[in-house]
Assembly symmetry: C2
Homo-oligomer: 333 residues x 2
């Protein structure tokens, strides 16, 4: 069917994927690939915007991220995985779009504002980072994406994309470009094992899909619980206790989780015992992923092949979009 919606998501290949990605977006992609045409982009150029001094790392992470994808069940026969830097049309579109967006508008973008503050760029804000909403609009529109799964904090990016689409279509009297809509997941962002912030590589509070059972155990054992819960017999708190946060998400046996909560609050359930239980729950989920990942990692040429085959498919789509765009811009010499 021609009118099937087109989903675009992606990841910055700056490190292996973790449970936060798994819950927040990866699981969703497994559902989406059965319903829509789905593209998943390895945003290597966007990763370079704040990793430009370490390109080798970005490159290696591309393969690691694809390993993660396949291990969790993203099916390359249903989902097209591609590398951003191999689609030059994205850069071309970005340059065209930069004419349609004012500097003042970029300065007002709330997502960019927040991220600039978070990263503490100050005077050293790279122009590439400043204009990345425009480049995202190019990512989305080059494949004519219509459904974009993003976190709530990314909604201004979607709005920026649609503004560009409307400007372009109005100026060039066309409907070549399509507006898109955000698909915001219902699940809250997964907090890291420290209980402090959302799980993130740079914060050292992440459990990776590729973690060994030893690493997994060690991280759960460090998990933030209730600092007031010193002896087994003491009553403990549930709120803010990461072990229960994780059990609520990952243990489908809700009665069992409720029983543990009751016991913990009453006193008599030690942190170590509780954590061992969570390790088991997580390991049931992660062991098959880890094993599939290990098996797949024996043949990196195959993984690279998946990535390049997907990229080739997108090259054809991107050429077609660019042909249409250049035609309405009278750039089809």
């Amino acid at each position: 069917m021609q009118n099937k919606s087109i989903v675009l998501t992606g990841d910055r290949p700056t490190g292996p994927l973790h449970l936060g990605h798994y819950v927040g977006s990866l699981l969703n992609r497994i559902t989406l690939q059965d319903q829509y045409t789905q593209y998943v982009m390895l945003a290597d150029i966007q990763a370079l915007t704040d990793n430009y001094e370490n390109p080798q790392k970005v490159r290696e992470n591309c393969l690691q991220v694809v390993l993660d994808y396949l291990a969790i069940g993203i099916d390359p026969s249903k989902t097209t995985i591609f590398i951003q830097s191999m689609i030059p049309q994205i850069a071309e579109l970005t340059i065209f779009y930069l004419n349609l967006v004012t500097v003042a508008r970029l300065q007002r973008n709330p997502t960019v504002k927040t991220e600039i503050a978070q990263k503490g760029f100050g005077e050293s804000l790279p122009a590439g980072f400043f204009m990345y909403p425009v480049s995202q609009a190019a990512d989305i529109t080059i494949v004519k994406g219509t459904i974009i799964p993003v976190g709530e904090d990314q909604l201004p990016m979607i709005e920026q994309t649609n503004e560009i689409v409307r400007s372009f279509n109005r100026i060039y009297k066309t409907d070549v470009l399509k507006e898109c809509q955000a698909l915001v997941p219902k699940t809250a962002r997964l907090t890291g094992i420290d209980g402090q912030a959302k799980m993130g590589k740079s914060l050292g509070n992440a459990i990776y899909l590729s973690d060994s059972i030893d690493d997994l155990s060690k991280k759960v054992m460090q998990m933030y619980t209730d600092p007031g819960h010193l002896r087994v017999e003491d009553p403990g708190k549930i709120e803010g206790n990461m072990v229960f946060t994780y059990l609520d998400i990952f243990d489908s046996n809700h009665d069992q989780v409720q029983a543990l909560k009751d016991q913990y609050q009453a006193g008599g359930l030690g942190d170590v015992k509780l954590k061992k239980y969570l390790i088991e729950v997580l390991d049931v989920k992660l062991r098959p992923i880890r094993e599939r990942r290990l098996a797949l990692s024996q043949d990196l040429a195959y993984i690279k092949g998946i990535m390049l085959a997907g990229t080739q498919k997108v090259q054809i789509v991107a050429e077609q979009t660019m042909r249409e765009v250049k035609q309405v811009m009278h750039l089809d010499y």
Copy 2:
């Protein structure tokens, strides 16, 4: 010889070329094409930065500008003429370079500052215009340009390009990119027929290479002379008198010009007579150009062919540069 210097110049195809272009850069290119490898870029994408609502005009002007080039003696067997928008690697390089330049640095660029003020953008400054020094750095480096003929006011652009080249080479530990040097013409900018500002299309004070003899005559007859010079027998002023400014530049018979100056200052030389003399001088230069241009314009397919053949040559050069760039950036999957 491999180490031959590489010249890049170009024009924004926003209108036909005029005497200001002729004196300021076109004549120079005829000399340069015998000494160096010379590329001349039709900067259609850059033209779109402030003509994005009129792409058809930009496209038509490409052919007009190539007609001007060939008519004045730019030889396509020596000079490679190409279209910016057909070299996607320029967009790719621009995106890479945007990571190496801060927003603060772009805000400090004196050329951009001046042009922003001149064009009165204010709050509506397009991001594409704001970052065009970065895109110029990509234009230059994609063909590894080493000699860049520019006006004095463009020197900060060359400095910006070399900053980017040095950052790139340092970060990626390479010497793939080459620094360039400006070649500033000795001739002053040609003032328009109104005597007010440099000759420019938007100011309506230009004499075009393609002007008919009637248009040429009409424009010279409107030329600013000495408003105090009312009667033939009155003494007239030389300074700021456009007719003499033009004679100084275009009449190689300096003795004759001096004699006219003497007579004009003493009184007894009327503006009409003087202007008729200038029309003759200009027509000697412009008639052969006009005639060649007219002949060439009978076969626009040939002109388009020249443009596309040059573009194809540059596509090969650009692919090679991009291969080297992506290799050092570890983007050669």
